[in-house]
Subunit: 318 residues, 2 copies
């Protein structure tokens, strides 16, 4: 456990620094409001550091939440693939963020980074079938949800994601596909946005390589998002664009409440509700029977941008 | 099957008439807008008759949806308690309605009535354990979700519910408790509203008695809701009341998307998404860390009105 205790401390330090960087940059992009929030000690020496900016000049709501949870006994529901880990002490370190901008031309962005560690490595006596997943893993990723997308923004976003992946092993195509598969509203037959990368149960190359990759993903987020935000935040918009953004945010709420695994698990397991639902849009709308006019920019979103494709290969235009 | 085919026709006629009554009365209450919607034929002779009023003078959105579904083979997922019914032909007739008023002093109201019939009555050979639920049943109920409640309204609502139940067997206390249990946001430790009645797997007294009861519930809805709507719809309100209503609607969306069984089942089973999500509020808000001021009307809702109690016994004041 010596190494593993050091791992938790390393990841915690890294995620806290990343949180501070992102907050600083989002405050710069907003130009008016600051983040606020208190530190909450959690059982066993854990820490919850929620930071939220509401009613900003350019950001309607952003939440950048750090949590380090320490548990005495892993619930059975969390260890379906590894039943021998039930009841073992565990730690989870997570950084999650969402940005709901004011300007409909600026995309909503989301990132999540997490590290999970169960104290036990292998049970004694050894199980007949070795565990299917390791007793530690990383997970996370980031994805972009534009309302009025620009191709150069989408290409830039995926370029940054690809660069981060390719520098650490060359698995961008796989992680992009994971993202397209996960952030999908099956009941609408529609992607949540234009995707990004998504990974779970990540242990490739061992702790050091995995951590370096996750750190790279965390650092890539702002390189991907900030230039898009800056390019679009001064664009004028009107009621039409605002209304469309609110309808799209309704679908975002559908995904988070009805589909997202983390939210669903959290709702059932009694996690702090304000943190769990901090990703929900500040305002959202639903309109019965709404359809975009053929040929409109609103139709272009669903027809040309949401169907998953390889944005980095111009030949893949559908 | 002779009787059962006649049952479906009887229920269908009754629910369609009820839909027309409710639409007429809601249009009268709104005073400006009409409901609209088309009839959609569904496989096997079924009918979907969605009717929606949006952007009314007094009603921001109301949906009154009739559906008669006819299926060739019941999916296994729908028959967990009666596996021998999987694959059997079935019919479902349902009327569901939601009213999201404009005025924060007018409560949101919801009703659902449904009849479910599986063609098979008992399997041959007979199962070792007889089926836990019958091959037909009714379900439904209604509940009220005020933002700024008035005690006389809440008492009236429960009085009408109680009268409907007591005239058909005297089980109001049980059905009120069902409602309090079901419309509860466990993650917030908070009821969705002030309740009403809720029942499922309902076969008491056989088809005729059950149908008469369900018909009485359908007719009670407007006797319960219309007087409350009329008493409150002309009350002046301001930004504060509007903002609070939108936050409460956020919780309504949480319930419908994350908790409601019908919505969850529908999202997974590929039902028509516009109908399935017609109950969602036209506008909703979420605000991180929001708390009502102590002693405010907003605090009174959660402290005095939402904790379930017997509104018809004055002695039960908590």
């Amino acid at each position: 456990m010596m190494d593993e205790a050091a791992w938790v401390a390393t990841v915690r330090r890294c995620f806290l620094e990343r949180q501070a960087d992102i907050i600083r940059e989002l405050e710069r992009l907003d130009g008016a409001r600051r983040f606020s929030g208190e530190d909450l000690a959690t059982p066993g020496g854990g820490l919850s550091r929620p930071r939220v900016l509401q009613d900003g000049a350019a950001i309607e709501k952003a939440a950048v939440l750090f949590t380090h949870s320490i548990g005495a006994a892993l619930p059975a529901a969390a260890t379906e693939r590894n039943p021998h880990l039930a009841g073992q002490p565990f730690q989870a370190v997570a950084l999650s963020l969402i940005v709901h901008p004011r300007n409909p031309y600026v995309p909503t962005a989301h990132m999540n980074l997490r590290f999970f560690l169960v104290a036990a490595t292998l049970p004694r006596p050894l199980p007949a079938h070795p565990p299917a997943a390791p007793a530690w893993h990383f997970g996370g990723g980031f994805d972009l949800t534009p309302h009025y997308p620009f191709e150069e923004d989408v290409v830039h976003w995926h370029r940054v994601a690809s660069d981060a992946c390719e520098a650490h092993g060359g698995f961008h195509a796989e992680l992009k596909r994971n993202c397209d598969d996960y952030f999908f509203l099956k009941h609408r037959g529609e992607a949540r946005g234009v995707g990004g990368i998504f990974f779970d149960d990540w242990t490739r190359g061992g702790f050091n390589a995995s951590f370096a990759f996750v750190d790279a993903v965390g650092s890539a987020f702002l390189r991907g998002y900030a230039p898009i935000f800056e390019r679009r935040t001064a664009m004028p918009w009107g009621e039409r664009e605002e209304a469309f953004m609110l309808l799209r945010r309704g679908r975002y709420a559908e995904f988070n409440l009805a589909i997202d695994r983390g939210t669903r698990y959290g709702l059932q397991s009694g996690r702090r509700v304000e943190s769990l639902l901090a990703s929900l849009p500040p305002r959202a709308q639903w309109r019965y029977g709404w359809r975009p006019a053929p040929g409109s920019p609103e139709a272009e979103l669903t027809e040309r941008f949401l169907p998953p494709r390889d944005w980095l290969s111009p030949a893949d235009e559908p």
